[in-house]
């Protein structure tokens, strides 16, 4: 038996150490600081999350690329081939929207039940509980970057050139996406403790959300033009995911107005124009993204406050 004590250094005097305080309610600043102090736990949890997910499958981590690719193929088949939505080069458009959507969808569908699922841990070990939800968002971020790589490879293969001038907007849009996803994940994970229905409900909400976001249809075919006619275009952008997607789509898909691949029935061989993306100048994208980022920072802090309120009774509800 080894004796670890012999190698230990002389113990420092504890009197110099500051007291940590456990009390009924911690301030937001304290909680954010705790969160930051436990970042190593967050990264451990993210790593173990990713490893566990693919541990016992033959293809392993390949699934994180294969699944979205196959989903992409299905959506392409359904919306471009069967339903003929007319968007040329649809895979690029779809891909740009899907990477954003997958990040949001994966995070929320896994984080919603996470505190209930890991209640054994929550009841026994002390750490900021929201880290569990954030770990799921972190794992989704990892898959996001893998998919971005696959997307980049695809663009190279088909020889589609993105608009490099817009690239610098992507980090802003991504950060907004991350904060929005994290905020919702944290709040949903806490609410699920009190209402277990949320685990099922969130799947329906996510399905609805998918079709409310411009992933499989163009800007023109969304409800935005109708709203615009009534001066209510802003309503469409209340869905923060939309703006983030538009930024990604504008960067990678590039063209805002294209000829449809489907001729009109009346005119014979006329290929009408479709307004795939809103034709804004770069500055509009920038202002909107920055504004969105600001809102998302506030939303994230707000989510932290709500979580702080809700976590007090976790013990008696789990």
């Amino acid at each position: 038996m080894s004796d670890g004590s012999s190698v230990r250094v002389e113990r420092r005097s504890l009197e110099d150490d500051a007291f940590r305080i456990v009390s009924a309610r911690d301030s937001l600043i304290t909680r954010l600081r705790n969160l930051w102090n436990r970042r190593e736990l967050l990264s451990s949890l993210i790593r173990s999350d990713i490893r566990i997910k693919y541990k016992n499958s033959a293809l392993g981590i390949v699934w994180s690329m294969l699944t979205p690719t196959l989903f992409l193929a299905i959506y392409w088949l359904v919306f471009a081939k069967f339903l003929k939505n007319g968007i040329p080069n649809f895979v690029v458009y779809l891909f740009a929207g899907m990477i954003v959507w997958n990040m949001f969808n994966t995070s929320l569908s896994t984080a919603t039940g996470v505190i209930v699922v890991r209640s054994g841990l929550v009841k026994k070990v002390s750490f900021p509980r929201e880290i569990l939800a954030l770990a799921n968002v972190g794992a989704a971020t990892f898959y996001f970057f893998i998919q971005v790589c696959v997307f980049g490879l695809y663009l190279l293969v088909v020889g589609h050139s993105p608009d490099y001038a817009y690239f610098w907007l992507l980090p802003i849009a991504f950060l907004a996406l991350y904060l929005f996803t994290a905020a919702l994940a944290i709040v949903m994970s806490a609410i699920t403790v009190y209402m277990r229905d949320m685990e099922h409900f969130i799947l329906i909400i996510l399905q609805l959300w998918f079709f409310m976001s411009p992933i499989v249809y163009s800007y023109e075919h969304s409800i935005a033009p109708q709203l615009h006619a009534h001066g209510l275009a802003w309503l469409y952008f209340l869905n923060p995911i939309t703006l983030i997607m538009l930024t990604f789509q504008r960067t990678f898909y590039v063209s805002t107005v294209v000829h449809s691949t489907v001729p009109t029935v009346v005119g014979g061989h006329v290929f009408p124009l479709i307004n795939v993306l809103p034709s804004w100048p770069m500055s509009t994208y920038f202002y909107l993204d920055i504004a969105l980022l600001g809102i998302m920072i506030v939303l994230f802090l707000f989510a932290e406050v709500i979580f702080g309120r809700l976590q007090g009774n976790f013990e008696s509800e789990l």
Binding site: L14, V22, S23, E40, L41, R51, K124, V125, Y194, S316
Partner: protein, 383 residues
């Protein structure tokens, strides 16, 4: 001496839902129905723990000791009050709660270390001693789901004690593992004590508290009823336990039997080592009762020297005064003062009917040269 844990006015109340409406439908249909009762798990708890102190937290089931421990570890938020903690704290609460069955033992050591708040670098440094201590070297790269429950707990314990915490919180974990591993754990706890760290030890096993702790805090129904030297607190604990048992006793049996005193013919409790001793236990009983007599002898440090068989000495008490004679034909104990506890238990030997803690103290004098607790009189010769 520095204070490492300061508990100030801690209270914790739980809401007990008599009708839980957890699904959305039920919440919509009954927004405010279902009665809720407020339950005070802890009320007004105040104490401090210094460095180099081993404090036992004793109480029977439901006394709030685990709740208090969870508050100290930060797993639970107290309803009011504050707990100040200085230095790093490792808790041995339900070991292995943080393990991911799908991951290997190695990965889990790192993950568990991170959960306890230790960096990867620190875990790197202690990894070998963790593996060594847990004795599962061959299986360290096996997924934890294939571990036996003993291996599981051993690994978790090894991580928790090797991360070098300033404060160690132990919650009834010594019940796990085989006897040899338990001895190893106790040994490690003693090393901790020698290094001047603080230990908070929670159990309802009075023997363990006696063996390990300098001081004990007794909880009952969420209130602190004692805080002092171990034997003093344990006396209060036992007597209180009897007291609350009497309230539940329907037959009135408990109230009817009391141990009044322990006397010797000469009146002195002084004996020479190796000599015999006789004493009488005076018991008053209101009714006839057949049970068993139990005798315990402890050292002043709280080490159990001997406990008589709880089923081996039947006594038939008659209404009125009873005297039970105890003969110790030969006391091989060495120099020191030994405390005697006596009690009456039921015929099956599992329920205490009457008890008297520290009913007498025997002073033993020894003029031989052996050291330790008992004289064995070993004769040693070369062959």
């Amino acid at each position: 001496m520095a204070t490492v844990i300061k508990v100030e006015g801690i209270a914790k109340t739980f809401k007990i839902h008599h009708e839980r409406h957890q699904s959305l439908k039920e919440r919509m249909l009954h927004p405010r129905s279902g009665s809720t009762e407020v339950f005070d798990a802890l009320a007004d708890i105040n104490f401090t723990v210094d460095t180099n102190e081993t404090v036992g937290l004793v109480g029977h089931n439901g006394s709030g000791k685990s709740t208090l421990l969870k508050c100290i570890c930060g797993v639970l938020q107290p309803t009011s009050g504050q707990i100040h903690i200085r230095g790093s704290l490792a808790a041995l609460l339900e070991l292995g709660a943080g393990f991911q069955p799908e991951l290997s033992g190695r990965d889990n050591v790192y993950l568990y270390g991170a959960m306890l708040g230790f960096s990867k670098k620190m875990v790197d440094g202690i990894f070998d001693s963790v593996v060594d201590f847990s004795e599962i070297e061959q299986f360290i790269d096996t997924q934890v789901k294939f571990y036996s429950s003993g291996m599981y707990v051993r690994l978790a314990f090894a991580v928790a004690v090797n991360v070098d915490p300033d404060i160690l919180v132990v919650d009834e974990v010594l019940a796990v593992g085989d006897e040899r591993f338990q001895a190893k754990c106790i040994d490690r706890i003693r090393t901790f004590q020698d290094e001047g760290r603080s230990i908070l030890f929670v159990t309802h096993n009075a023997d363990q508290v006696r063996a390990i702790c300098d001081r004990a805090i007794v909880l009952d129904g969420g209130h602190m009823i004692a805080d002092g030297p171990t034997h003093e607190s344990l006396r209060i604990f036992r007597e209180h336990l009897m007291g609350s048992a009497q309230e539940h006793d329907r037959s009135g049996l408990l109230a009817s039997i009391s141990i009044d005193s322990v006397t010797t013919p000469s009146g002195a409790f002084h004996v020479r080592s190796g000599a015999g001793m006789h004493f009488d236990v005076n018991i008053t009983s209101q009714s006839a009762y057949s049970g068993n007599f139990v005798l315990e002898i402890f050292t002043r440090k709280g080490l159990l020297v001997s406990r008589s068989d709880a089923k081996g000495s039947p006594v038939n008490l008659t209404p009125g005064q009873n005297v039970v004679g105890v003969d110790l034909p030969q006391i091989p104990l060495l120099d020191g003062i030994y405390d005697v506890n006596v009690g009456i238990v039921n015929p099956r030997g599992n329920t205490v009917i009457a008890w008297r803690e520290q009913a007498a103290s025997i002073q033993v004098t020894y003029d031989g040269r052996e050291g330790g607790l008992v004289e064995l009189g070993a004769s040693i010769r070369q062959q």
